[in-house]
C-alpha cells in the first residue's frame, strides 16, 4: 500500500445487515439450484449427458447466459480490479483486449468444432482428437491438461467467494479452522449443489446472477465515481499511486498505462489468455450446448457487451484508490483481493453491500460449478472410460463424474492453500499456460491433418514442461513464493511476455520440426474418422439432428 492513500476506518468486524442479505440471497439461489434439477429435465440425472450437458437443449439466450456465466467470474469481479488496484494496467487492464479479441478468435474455429462434434457425438476436445487421429495417447494428454488447468481457475473462484465472506466478517480468529472458514463454507456450498443438480443448476442460476450483477454494476459505475470525485480525479489518484515508489521493490508501484518494455507484456497477456480460454473443458461444454452451428457466431457478436462491463469493473480498482479503500484481512494483513468487497462495504448502505456481496459470490459460484462439471466430464470420458473401465455403464459414468467434480474442487482448494492468494489473477494465468498447449492439437487439427500425432504430443510435452518450469521460477518479491507471476523475459525479443505464449511458440516449433521428420520417415499418422463435410454440418444434418435429438429438444432458444 502506498503511503499517500488516506486510510478509511478499516472495518474488520461482522457486518450484520450485509451478511444477512448475503445469506438470504444465497439461500434463494441455492433453492433455485436444487429445483433446477427438474428444469426441462430428460429421463434422469443418472446419465452423464443429462447431468453434465443439461441434455444439450439450450438455445441462443440460455447459451448466451451460460457463456456469460462462464467467462465473467471472480476473475472479473475480484482478481482484475485487485490487480489494477495493486499494480495497475499491465497487471489488470489487459483483460479488456483479452475479452475483445476473444470473439474474433472463437468465431473462426468454434463453428467447425461444433459441427464435427455433433456429427460424431464428441463432447470434449479430447474426444475430437481421438477421432481425428485415432490416438488414445494424444487424447489423454488433452484430457489431463484440461483437468489440471481447470484447478487453478476454480481456485480463483474460491478466492473470490472467500474475499466476500471475509469482508462480511465470516471467519477470523487464531485457529486454522476459523481462519479458513470462509473458504471452507464456499467449498461446501459449491460442492453440494453441483453434486445434486449438474449443469442445470448453473443454467438456472445464471439468470439470477446476471440480474444481480447488472444491478450492482450499474449502481457501482454511476454512483461510486461521482461519490469519489469523478473520473478525472480517480485517474489522477491512480496515476499518483502507480508512480509512487514501492517499499518492497524500490521501483514504481505499477503502471498507469503500459510504458516502454511493457507493450509486449500487455499484448501477450491479452492474446495468450484469449487463445487459451476456449480450450478449457468448460468453455467447450458451453459452446457445444448451443442448438446450432451459427448460435456460437451470433453469440460472438453480442458477447462483447460483457467486455465493456469488465473494463468498468477493472476501473473500480482505481475508484478504490481514490476512495482510499484499505483492504485488510481478518488476520490484520493487507490483502488486495479484498479491495472490491471492501469498497462496496465502505461506500454502500449495509443492505446494498449485502446485495453486491451476493452478486460477487454467486458470480463466482456459477462458473466454478460449470468448470468442475466440465473437468469431471473430461475425466470420465477420456480417462476413466478410455483407460480404466471401458465397459462402464451410464450409471457408473455419472457416478464417477460426480465424484471427480468433487475431487477437482478439492484440488482447487490445494492450490488456494499452497499458492499466493495475494495475486489471484495469477491462478487464471497459470491455468492458461497449461491449457494453451492443447491449442495446436485441437484447433489446427480442425483444419488440417498435416501435423503428425506424435509431433503434436511432443510439442505439447515441451510446452507444458517449459511453461511450468518458467512459471515456477517466477518468485514474488514480496512473499518469496514460487509461481509468483506469469511474465518472463521472452527469448529473441528480450522484453517481458506471458509465459503461455512463449511456451506456445516453442510448442509450435517443436511440432512443426517433428512433423517434418515423422512425415519424411513415413510414420503412420493414425486413422481419421472425420470427413471434410463433417466440419460444415449444421442442425439440419440428419446425424447432427440425431445427436441433438438423443436428448429431445422440447423448447427452442428463441422461445425462452
Amino acid at each position: 500500500m502506498s503511503a499517500d492513500v488516506t486510510v478509511m476506518a478499516a472495518d474488520t468486524g461482522v457486518n450484520g445487515v450485509a451478511l444477512a442479505v448475503l445469506i438470504i440471497l444465497f439461500l434463494v439461489v441455492t433453492v433455485l439450484g436444487f429445483s433446477a434439477a427438474r428444469f426441462r429435465r430428460g429421463d434422469n440425472l443418472d446419465s452423464l449427458d443429462e447431468w453434465g450437458l443439461g441434455g444439450r437443449r439450450f438455445g441462443t439466450w440460455v447459451t448466451w447466459f451460460l457463456l456469460g456465466g462462464d467467462l465473467y467470474t471472480a476473475y472479473t469481479f475480484v482478481a482484475v480490479p485487485a490487480a489494477m488496484f495493486a499494480t495497475g494496467s499491465v497487471a489488470g487492464f489487459f483483460a479488456v483486449p483479452y475479452t475483445i479479441v476473444l470473439y474474433p478468435i472463437i468465431f473462426v474455429f468454434m463453428a467447425r468444432l461444433w459441427s464435427v462434434s455433433h456429427r460424431h457425438g464428441y463432447v470434449t476436445s479430447a474426444d475430437f482428437v481421438r477421432g481425428r487421429y485415432g490416438s488414445r495417447e494424444l487424447s489423454l494428454a488433452i484430457a489431463v491438461t484440461g483437468f489440471l488447468a481447470t484447478m487453478p481457475y476454480i481456485a480463483l473462484q474460491l478466492v473470490g467467494i472467500q474475499a466476500v465472506l471475509e469482508v462480511a466478517g465470516v471467519g477470523g480468529g487464531d485457529n486454522w479452522l476459523a481462519a479458513d472458514l470462509p473458504l471452507l463454507v464456499a467449498f461446501v456450498i459449491l460442492a453440494a449443489y453441483t453434486y445434486t443438480s449438474g449443469l442445470r443448476a448453473p443454467a438456472m442460476i445464471a439468470f439470477v446472477k446476471d440480474a444481480l450483477i447488472y444491478l450492482v454494476i450499474i449502481v457501482a459505475i454511476i454512483y461510486l465515481p461521482t461519490k469519489f470525485g469523478g473520473w478525472e480525479h480517480i485517474f489522477g489518484a491512480a496515476e499518483d499511486k502507480m508512480a509512487a515508489t514501492s517499499e518492497t521493490t524500490g521501483k514504481p508501484t505499477g503502471s498507469f498505462v503500459p510504458g516502454d518494455g511493457q507493450m509486449w507484456a500487455y499484448a501477450t497477456l491479452g492474446l495468450g489468455s484469449a487463445l487459451a480460454l476456449f480450450m478449457y473443458p468448460h468453455s467447450i461444454t458451453a459452446s457445444l450446448s448451443s442448438s446450432s452451428r451459427n448460435t456460437i457466431r451470433r453469440n460472438a457478436a453480442i458477447l462483447p457487451a460483457y467486455s465493456f462491463v469488465l473494463g468498468l469493473l477493472a476501473l473500480l480498482g482505481w475508484v478504490a484508490i481514490a476512495a482510499g479503500t484499505k483492504p485488510v484481512g481478518l488476520d490484520g494483513e493487507p490483502n488486495a483481493q479484498l479491495v472490491i468487497p471492501q469498497l462496496f462495504e465502505d461506500a454502500f448502505p449495509a443492505w446494498f453491500a449485502g446485495v453486491a456481496f451476493a452478486a460477487i459470490a454467486i458470480g463466482a459460484l456459477v462458473p466454478a460449478a460449470i468448470m468442475s462439471i466440465a473437468a469431471a466430464n473430461t475425466f470420465t470420458r477420456n480417462i476413466y472410460k478410455e483407460w480404466i473401465n471401458p465397459r462402464a455403464t451410464d450409471k457408473q459414468e455419472a457416478k464417477v463424474s460426480k465424484l471427480m467434480s468433487l475431487l477437482v474442487k478439492a484440488f482447487a482448494l490445494v492450490f488456494v492453500f499452497t499458492m499466493d492468494k495475494q495475486n489471484a489473477i495469477n491462478f487464471q494465468l497459470l491455468g492458461g499456460i497449461w491449457i494453451l498447449q492443447t491449442f495446436p492439437a485441437v484447433v489446427f487439427s480442425l483444419y488440417t491433418r498435416w501435423f503428425h500425432k506424435w509431433a503434436l504430443l511432443l510439442g505439447w510435452a515441451v510446452g507444458m514442461v517449459y511453461g511450468t518450469v518458467q512459471a515456477y521460477q517466477v518468485v514474488n518479491p514480496a512473499t518469496g513464493k514460487h509461481f509468483g507471476g506469469s511474465l518472463d523475459v521472452m527469448p529473441v525479443i528480450g522484453d517481458l511476455g506471458y509465459i503461455a505464449l512463449t511456451a506456445f511458440v516453442l510448442n509450435l516449433l517443436v511440432t512443426v520440426a517433428a512433423t517434418v521428420l515423422l512425415r519424411a520417415g513415413k510414420v503412420d499418422n493414425g486413422t481419421d474418422e472425420t470427413t471434410a463435410y463433417d466440419y460444415h454440418a449444421d442442425a439440419d444434418d440428419p446425424r447432427v439432428r440425431k445427436d441433438l435429438a438423443e436428448n429431445p429438444k422440447t423448447l427452442g432458444a428463441e422461445e425462452l
Binding site: F93, P97, V101, F235, P304, D540, P542
Partner: protein, 88 residues
C-alpha cells in the same frame, strides 16, 4: 452410430464464395491486430471527459469489434448462400 440412407455420408462441403470468406477473415483480423499493437494506443492524451486515451480507445474497440464480428457473421452466411436460413 448406425448410418441410414439419409445419414449425410454422401454430402459434400457446401460451396462458398471465397472472396466473401476472405473479407470476413480480414474483418476478424483487424481488431486483433489493432489491440495487439499496444504502442499505437499506450498514451494518455487526448483525453475524453477526463479519461486517458489508453482507456477510452479500448472501450471504443468493444463496439468496433462487435460490429466487425457481426458483419463477418453475415458475410459468412451470405458466402454460403444461407442468409435467409433460420434453424430452429
Amino acid at each position: 452410430m448406425p448410418l441410414g440412407s439419409d445419414s449425410g455420408e454422401t454430402r459434400v462441403v457446401p460451396p462458398a464464395n471465397k472472396f466473401m470468406l476472405v473479407a470476413a477473415g480480414v474483418l476478424l483480423l483487424i481488431p486483433v491486430v489493432a489491440l495487439m499493437w499496444v504502442g499505437s494506443y499506450a498514451k494518455i492524451e487526448p483525453r475524453l471527459w477526463g479519461i486517458p486515451f489508453f482507456f477510452w480507445y479500448q472501450f471504443v474497440w468493444v463496439f468496433l469489434c462487435s460490429a466487425m464480428t457481426y458483419s463477418a457473421h453475415r458475410l459468412v452466411l451470405a458466402a454460403r448462400g444461407q442468409s435467409g436460413k433460420v434453424l430452429k
